[in-house]
């Protein structure tokens, strides 16, 4: 049986699964909407992965990334839990070892990663504002009654883009409505929105950073041809959208997991039986001190697997002691 490596990226909008073979080729990828239910979606994804591999492959390593990486790692038994920046950089370098810039726009985060000599040299993530991320585009597409998949196509048909204020999602929306009321055509407004998003991204995130080719564009928003073209116009450079742009975080997690298990010699992947277990996250407010921390408890078949969210560690440490003792 051949080995394969599982990478899972639990993001705010999508949860992605990737299986890599021994040569680093993507055997299978899944892009599922998280829908605010990471545990259910994780199980769904794992079921699909299990059915796909059957008895042809065995999972030799698993890694998680994304904002839900801790939760996912506890459920699947991850050999490595990595932040999205490192995961995206590793994946990009596997596709193009000469990568110098990575633009990544996901559901609620956007990032720029500057690579020099094959390693992360500098990076930035959006700070207090989510304007210009995937969820904003999603919302606008829904408001305009256009499927998000076709959103970018409309932008390409524009001949005369209108200027939309992209500083803030709320302002951008009222600006778009205003432009609609004055009778501007939809294609121009959508293109204006793409340009606003790109302008905002470059002003906020890329401020002062040298964007050099090859430039890879990753994350769900890279599917939007309107945004890709707006980036190319603004940067006057070619933008490369890698084949697996939408699951690059998961690819990175799989690569890192493989490296990790090759170093230590075994995997802690829990296997697919966990799909049958009933996982449940419950939260309660600790009343021990005036911090009133919201503690989250992860239960597997009514057994506490982990706790987190407390500042002092009385809950999370208690669990760890129990684990160490048992």
């Amino acid at each position: 049986m051949n080995s394969c490596y599982l990478g899972i990226d639990v993001g705010s909008v999508s949860t992605n699964f990737v299986l890599l073979d021994d040569n680093g080729i993507v055997l299978k990828k899944l892009y599922l909407r998280t829908q605010g239910e990471p545990i259910r979606i994780l199980k769904e994804g794992l079921t699909e992965i299990r059915d796909f591999i059957g008895d042809r492959y065995s999972i030799a390593a698993s890694g998680t990334t994304g904002s839900g990486r801790q939760l996912a790692s506890l459920i699947v038994g991850a050999d490595i839990v990595k932040n999205e920046i490192t995961a995206h950089a590793v994946a990009a370098l596997a596709v193009r070892p000469d990568t110098r810039t990575i633009l990544e726009i996901g559901g609620q985060d956007s990032k720029i990663i500057i690579i020099r000599d094959g390693m992360v040299y500098d990076f930035a993530m959006n700070t207090v504002c989510a304007a210009g991320t995937g969820s904003f585009l999603d919302r606008q597409a829904a408001r305009l009654n256009i499927p998000i998949e076709k959103f970018g196509g409309y932008a390409l048909k524009s001949s005369n883009p209108v200027r939309i204020a992209g500083r803030c999602a709320v302002f951008a929306e009222s600006d778009m409505i205003h432009k609609q009321q004055t009778g501007q055509c939809l294609e121009d407004i959508i293109n204006g929105l793409c340009e606003a998003l790109v302008r905002n991204y470059l002003n906020n995130l890329a401020k002062g950073k040298a964007i050099e080719s090859p430039i890879l564009f990753q994350g769900g928003v890279a599917a939007n041809v309107g945004i890709v073209s707006a980036f190319e116009r603004e940067l006057k450079e070619k933008i490369i959208v890698p084949e697996n742009y939408d699951v690059m975080g998961a690819v990175g997690a799989a690569i890192l997991a493989r490296e990790e298990t090759e170093k230590k010699g075994y995997t802690i992947f829990h296997g697919f039986d966990i799909i049958k277990s009933k996982y449940e996250a419950v939260s309660f407010q600790c009343s021990h001190c005036s911090n009133c921390c919201e503690v989250v408890e992860l239960l597997a078949d009514s057994q506490v697997v982990a706790r987190w969210g407390d500042r002092c560690g009385r809950w999370s440490n208690a669990k760890e002691q129990k684990r160490a003792a048992g």
């Binding site: 904002s67 990595k82 932040n83 999205e84 920046i85 490192t86 590793v90 000599d117 094959g118 390693m119 992360v120 040299y121 500098d122 990076f123 993530m125 700070t127 207090v128 002062g208 890192l256 490296e259 001190c289 005036s290 911090n291 009133c292 921390c293 500042r311």
Partner: protein, 326 residues
């Protein structure tokens, strides 16, 4: 005459508590310190303070509320200037007024003015004013002031000798790490209040890092570096941060620099930028800006911190081991 004086564990507490404590103790006052920042203090601060203020000023309001009913009077000096020809943030000057107009049911407030812009002589007046609430004996006040100044000098020497204010004032344990050398630049009340910065220093220690803060650098070195700027930075605390950043830029003795800024801080909005430019132009040292706000989720700060540490480790290992991804 008062007996009990309440001192908020916030803002300049981290700079002047040894001085204040020694002085009030020696004029016969009993000192009540507010609790360490907790959820209730944050909520009260946000509730009572004007909305436009920065998070540290809001927290100060919360600490005031925490002291109500525990002391006969509260100490909120009107801090205008702590050095010749220099100022501090205008919010500190207006602090007694903000507190009086925003927080109900206050005990009397001792708001002696401290303004050393022209000369240190004014300090004497401040001591006499503050002391007069506890004793009529002027000689006793003056002796207390002398002892307090000595305590202040000893405290500065201890800090410059390598002990963090949080170690001295809050008994914080600092491990003897010899891993990454990371400079953390920011205002004292952001650096040493674990609640406000989500345990940033602790997280760095867990990663084996040694942490360097502006307070650990000798005053003379900070002055010398800050004097190299084309124009004098006339805010005392900003000058300390700038001088420290220039020291790290010149010595190149740290692996990375993190600037910790609170959202809405007018001074940091451009001092952070100046520090970043200085470091990026003169050195290759990675720089990351973390903006603190009222967010209670830690995922954002954890991801950024993890990615930053990964990047530093990757860079360090790159010379000898090409496959390391941190």
């Amino acid at each position: 005459m008062f007996k009990k004086i309440g001192i908020p564990r916030a803002l300049l507490y981290y700079d002047y508590y040894p001085l204040w404590h020694t002085f009030f103790e020696n004029v016969g006052a009993e000192i009540v310190l507010s609790d360490r920042t907790n959820n209730k203090i944050l909520n009260d601060g946000v509730k009572y303070c004007i909305n436009e203020a920065c998070l540290p000023v809001k927290l100060f309001h919360g600490h005031i509320v925490n002291l109500i009913g525990k002391a006969d009077c509260l100490f909120v000096p009107r801090m205008k200037s702590v050095a010749r020809n220099e100022y501090i943030c205008p919010k500190f000057t207006g602090l007694p007024d903000m507190i009086r107009s925003s927080v109900p049911n206050l005990p009397p407030i001792i708001d002696c003015e401290v303004n050393l812009r022209k000369s240190n002589a004014q300090l004497k007046e401040a001591f006499f004013e503050a002391g007069s609430f506890f004793t009529e004996d002027k000689a006793r006040i003056w002796t207390a002031a002398q002892i307090a100044m000595e305590a202040n000098d000893r405290y500065r020497k201890q800090v410059e000798g390598g002990r963090l204010p949080a170690q001295i004032l809050e008994n914080r344990q600092v491990p003897d790490n010899d891993g990454l050398r990371i400079a953390v630049i920011g205002h004292i009340y952001n650096l040493y209040d674990d609640y406000i910065n989500r345990g940033l220093l602790g997280k760095l220690y867990e990663n084996g890092a040694r942490v360097f803060t502006p307070e650990l650098i000798q005053g003379g070195i900070v002055d010398g570096n800050a004097a190299k700027l084309d124009k004098k930075v006339f805010w005392s605390f900003a000058r300390r941060l700038m001088g420290a950043a220039m020291h790290f830029a010149e010595q190149k003795n740290v692996d990375g620099v993190i600037y910790l800024m609170s959202f809405g801080c007018g001074i940091d909005s451009f001092i952070a930028e100046l520090c970043e430019r200085r470091l990026r132009r003169q050195t290759d040292i990675p720089f990351y800006l973390i903006v603190l706000d009222e967010h209670s989720g830690e995922a954002g700060i954890n991801t950024r911190l993890e990615a930053f540490i990964d990047m530093l480790k990757w860079r360090k290992r790159n010379d000898s081991d090409l496959s390391a991804h941190g």
